[in-house]
Every structure is written in structure tokens, then in C-alpha cells.
């Protein structure tokens, strides 16, 4: 297909989609309207279960099954990346050269690294109370680890990052989520039903029943997944080279 034909096809398809989208947009309930039946019910259910952050309640209690699917996607994607980015037979690892980073930058990275780790853990731990949760905190904690690469060099990062451990904790966190769901079945209710633990006092760390536990499982899974993912990309970009003259 020539470039011109492709552009024409795009123009025709784009015009059609534009017409449909505009028609749909004009017919949607107008922006900022007062009618949100599902939202009101979700808020009521969340308050009944003493979860202050309704979004966490929706994610890990009312629609916890969806989050299981999301974790599955994340797990599968990481698996796929690890397979795609593995070291092929015609490649070899070149030791990366040590990098000299300006001293203020290095110092900043080393100071912010623990701050970012603590912030990540804080965001995960308060997921059922204030904005945040397993996903956000996990990404922050994993990003924090990579400050070592930015502030020093790749070898420094490799020393504190046993990749096998992170792969194992990734899998274990997914299993923990499943097991937590299955205990609901064993206790005589439904899969991932929030009936296992007492709901606790509203707006305290131990409130929300099973929500904080699922939150922690997702946090660990996401943090390990991001570390493994970035390890694959960093290996490719920094270390692995094609065999010369092959």
C-alpha cells in the first residue's frame, strides 16, 4: 500500500470516527452533571466497610476481581518483556564503564533515594485512607532504586539488585493476592469477598478489612515488576552487545 493511499484511507476513517465521536459526545450526559448512580452506591458501600479512600475500596473490594485481571496483565507483560529482552546466543555482556557523575548530583541521588523509598512505602501503606495505593507507591519505590543508576553507575545498581529475588517476589505477590482471595472461599463466602477481617475503625491504618493486605500485595508486585522490567531494558541498553563479526 502506497503512502498516499494510506493517508487517504486514514482521512476517510478519521472523518468517520470524528463524526461518530462528536455525535456520541453531544449525546453523553453533559459534563459535570449531577446524576452518578454507580458512584453514589460505591461511596455508600465504601463507607459501610470503613474504607476512607473510595477508589481503593472500589479497586480492592468491590471490584477486586478486575484488579486480579490487571495484575495478570502486568505479570504477563513483564514475563513477555523478560523473554523478549533475554540475552541471545550471539550476544555477549560488556562490562559497563564506570561513570563519573558530578558530585552534587551524586549526593542528591543518594539523599533522595531513601526519601523516595519511604514515600513509596507511605503511599502504599496509606492507600486505603488518602490518595495513593499499591500501584502508585510501588512505582515510586521502584523508581527510587534506579536513582543509583542515575547518581552513580550501572554496576552500583546491579550490586543492590539481585534480579532473581525481585522475580520471585513478583510471583509471590501475585500468589498472595490469589491466596487472600481464596481464603474468602474457604471461609464460606465468595472469592475475594471482604468478609475475612473486621472492618476496624474508620480512617485508621488497620481499617477496611482485606483492603490494606491486597494493597500491599499489589504494591510489592508492581515494585518488583517495574524493577525487573527496567532491568531488562537497562541490560539491553548498557551491557548487552552484539558479537562483533558474527
Amino acid at each position: 500500500m502506497s503512502r498516499r493511499l494510506r493517508l487517504w484511507l486514514l482521512a476517510v476513517g478519521g472523518a468517520g470516527v470524528t463524526a461518530l465521536l462528536v455525535a456520541a459526545g453531544l449525546d453523553l450526559p453533559s459534563f459535570g452533571g449531577p446524576s452518578h448512580p454507580y458512584g453514589d452506591r460505591a461511596v455508600r458501600a465504601s463507607l459501610a466497610r470503613h474504607t476512607a479512600n473510595t477508589i481503593a475500596s472500589v479497586n480492592f473490594d468491590q471490584r477486586a476481581y478486575d484488579t486480579l485481571g490487571e495484575m495478570g496483565i502486568l505479570f504477563a507483560a513483564v514475563l513477555g518483556c523478560v523473554v523478549l529482552l533475554r540475552q541471545a546466543r550471539d550476544e555477549h555482556r560488556a562490562e559497563p564503564e564506570p561513570a563519573e557523575v558530578a558530585r552534587p548530583v551524586r549526593r542528591y541521588a543518594l539523599i533522595v533515594l531513601p526519601v523516595a523509598l519511604v514515600t513509596g512505602i507511605y503511599v502504599v501503606a496509606h492507600g486505603q485512607l488518602s490518595p495513593g495505593g499499591g500501584f502508585q507507591g510501588g512505582v515510586v519505590a521502584a523508581t527510587a532504586l534506579h536513582l543509583l543508576y542515575l547518581g552513580a553507575d550501572y554496576r552500583a545498581l546491579e550490586r543492590v539488585r539481585p534480579i532473581g529475588l525481585f522475580e520471585a517476589s513478583d510471583a509471590l505477590a501475585v500468589c498472595a493476592y490469589l491466596v487472600l482471595g481464596l481464603t474468602g472461599v474457604l471461609a464460606g463466602t465468595a472469592f475475594l469477598a471482604n468478609t475475612l477481617l473486621p472492618y476496624g475503625t474508620f480512617n485508621t491504618l488497620a481499617s477496611g478489612g482485606i483492603v490494606p493486605l491486597l494493597n500491599a500485595a499489589v504494591g510489592v508486585e508492581v515494585a518488583s515488576a517495574v524493577v525487573v522490567l527496567l532491568a531488562g531494558f537497562l541490560d539491553q541498553a548498557v551491557e548487552i552487545e552484539e558479537q562483533q563479526g558474527s
Binding site: P131, G132, T143, V226, F233, A237, E242
Partner: protein, 86 residues
């Protein structure tokens, strides 16, 4: 008048999305994408979705740019060795 901040955030998102498409060099596009991530996070805040804003910040400001830049670097290296052997 109360919606002025929403309109500004929407326009910022639309503008940075246009720029992200129009900038053709992947390394420069990564810069625009990280600005788009920040603009989206601000939009989510004014739409009263701080949870979503947090996750957009976490993904958009550091993770996605890092992934794209590493891919760019690897592709550049592949291209270089490919040219040498050819």
C-alpha cells in the same frame, strides 16, 4: 468562571498531545511525553481524581521516559553496529 482551571488544563493536555505527535524524533518526543504526563496529572487533579493523578505522575514523569530513552539508546547502538558490519 469556576471551570476556568479545567479549561486551562484541558487545553494544556490537548496542546502537549499535539506536540507529542508532531515531534518526530523519539528522544525529543520522550521529552514532550513527559510534559504530557505532567499536564495529565494536573488535569486529573482539577477533575478531582488525585489517585489517578498520582499514578499518572508515577508512570508518566519518570518511568515511561526512562523506558523510551533506553529503547532509543539501544536502537542507536544496534544501528551503529549494523552499519559497521555492512
Amino acid at each position: 468562571m469556576a471551570d476556568a482551571v479545567i479549561v486551562v488544563a484541558l487545553l494544556l493536555v490537548a496542546g502537549s498531545a499535539t506536540a507529542a505527535v508532531a515531534v518526530r524524533d523519539p528522544a525529543r518526543q520522550a521529552l514532550v511525553l513527559s510534559v504530557l504526563g505532567v499536564a495529565l496529572a494536573v488535569l486529573f487533579t482539577v477533575l478531582q481524581a488525585p489517585d489517578v493523578g498520582l499514578s499518572q505522575l508515577a508512570v508518566g514523569s519518570a518511568l515511561t521516559p526512562l523506558l523510551i530513552m533506553l529503547a532509543v539508546r539501544k536502537v542507536r547502538r544496534c544501528g551503529r553496529t549494523g552499519d559497521e558490519t555492512r
